[in-house]
Symmetry: C2
Subunit: 317 residues, 2 copies
């Protein structure tokens, strides 16, 4: 049996799994990312855990490669460069580190690009040559596919839609600038929107029962579900900013579809409806009502592992 | 001798020429575009003119194809769709029309994409796999190349950077929306900027000697050259808006270089210096000081014909 190893490196946890060519996750595991001072110890432990799940497989297996999704991952170099949410500083050559334990190709990119390849191989973008995946989590990530190929750009870091500026003097961003899209269209962004609204409105809201720092995107979703006006308005504003940005994005790459992935995308119609409406409102005429806005089809707890494994199935025939 | 026919269809004039594989324009001609009520008459006349310049060639020639740059050109269909500045309305299948006169492949795209392919084959982007060409003329056009391929997008209309919105309640655009980049960063845009400035400043300026409707981008350039503060400030503002947009663009496709083409780009340092400065100012850290801002290398009166002919040399081996 042919398998690919998919690894998703997050700030807190690392999830890994064995995935077959059809996108079945055969086996899975997880270790803490933040427990290891030395990155070599981390890779050693992770490799041992992978060998463990391989050893209990019934069939013989043939590992075709390792796909890794990681923050600030560089496809061309196989490195993770200056990831702010990882313990290990500077440039880490994960591709090389994994090759000390496995004699197979290692393909690494950032998590949003891995999600995009995942959608192309197993999910909502099957058969598409031109599409965009937008991951709405703590931040906003994106992966662009044109002519059937991932846009990694000249340096491997393309797809930073979350750091396009949408408001000229907007909210401060972790990147040191102001008004970046991810400060509005992300779990963190909608929380900030609600905190600002609570600060400035006399309107009643379920969310007034919480301290500002207790607000989460989940609470906002639940409030919206109960018909809370302020929560619904917060989703509307989020969709407006996101829809505006997506209309600008469409003008550049003219995708067949935009796929929303990640935590905030699970809010379903609360986020899809306003995003679609404003996207069409701001859209240049020639693109109006042509671009599909779709939910991810690799949802569920395995999504990140499937995405990472798809890097292998995409590159290896 | 192998030649490609390059045709640039403009609203007023059509320029055409024979170009060899090295980018030498062997012979050239022009006809009026706006003289023909019927598009078939136009294509017939144009074809006859092309046969004329072919008939006086010394060497035997082998026509490898026809490349056409045209407003609203659709690469996939070989059509021009609803071009506002052409007489012929609706969808015009130029590829088919030319095939009535020539038995060679016809490759058609919009003028900015043709310019981008021109830079890749003959100009400033030789050897580059990831770059953007921005044409600063009456409007703002753009062509994106990633992974060595033109981004035509799902429907063939990608690259409408000029119609990304940069100001939420900005200048009215011909497309029916507000705040599009081309209302600021184009010959027309800088004229509007100067008109607005003249309206609101008590500052002295050479440009006050003209009626608002007499102002042209050439006059602004000449005034800047004479040290006119208002003209220099107008270039600064134009560069600021363009630089801002280019920084956002870099975050998406991470190009090796951005190449400025067209009338306003000929203003040299007056436009390059502020554009570069603000581009770096607004740039996300990981891209800072990495992306080259270059002038076109297919300048001169043949530029559009060279660009169009390059479509042939790009697609035909």
């Amino acid at each position: 049996m042919e398998v690919a190893i998919g690894i998703d490196i997050g700030g807190t946890n690392t999830v890994f799994g064995l995935v077959d060519r059809k996108g079945n996750c055969i086996s899975e595991g997880t270790i803490r990312t933040d427990k290891y001072e030395n990155v070599k110890d981390y890779v050693k432990e992770l490799s041992e855990e992978i060998f463990k799940i391989l050893s209990v497989l019934d069939n013989e297996y043939d590992i075709r490669g390792i796909g890794v999704g990681a923050p600030n991952g560089n496809y061309f170099k196989g490195t993770v460069d200056f990831a702010p949410n990882l313990k290990w500083k500077g440039i880490i050559n994960f591709a090389e580190l994994f090759k000390e334990h496995f004699e197979v190709p290692v393909i690494l990119t950032n998590d949003a690009n891995a999600a995009a390849i995942g959608e192309m191989i197993f999910g909502a973008a099957k058969g598409m040559k031109n599409f965009v995946v937008v991951t709405l989590g703590t931040g906003l990530g994106s992966g662009f596919v044109s002519n059937g190929e991932m846009i990694y750009g000249h340096d491997g870091f393309a797809g930073e839609l979350g750091h396009t500026i949408v408001f000229h003097d907007g909210r401060k961003c972790g990147c040191g600038r102001k008004g970046c899209l991810e400060q509005y269209a992300s779990s963190t962004g909608i929380v900030k929107t609600v905190q600002e609204m609570l600060d400035s409105t006399i309107e009643d809201s379920i969310l007034k029962n919480y301290k500002p720092e207790e607000i989460t995107s989940k609470l906002i979703y639940e409030a919206a579900h109960q018909g809370d006006n302020l929560a619904i308005e917060a989703f509307d504003f989020t969709g407006r900013v996101l829809g505006f940005s997506l209309a600008n994005t469409v003008a550049i790459t003219s995708p067949e579809a935009i796929i929303l992935f990640g935590g905030l995308a699970l809010a379903g119609e609360y986020i899809f409806k306003p995003t679609k409406m404003y996207m069409e409102y701001y859209m240049l005429n020639i693109f109006k009502n042509k671009v599909k806005l779709l939910p991810s089809q690799i949802v569920g707890k395995n999504a990140a592992v499937l995405g990472a494994s798809a890097l292998v199935w995409k590159d290896i025939i």
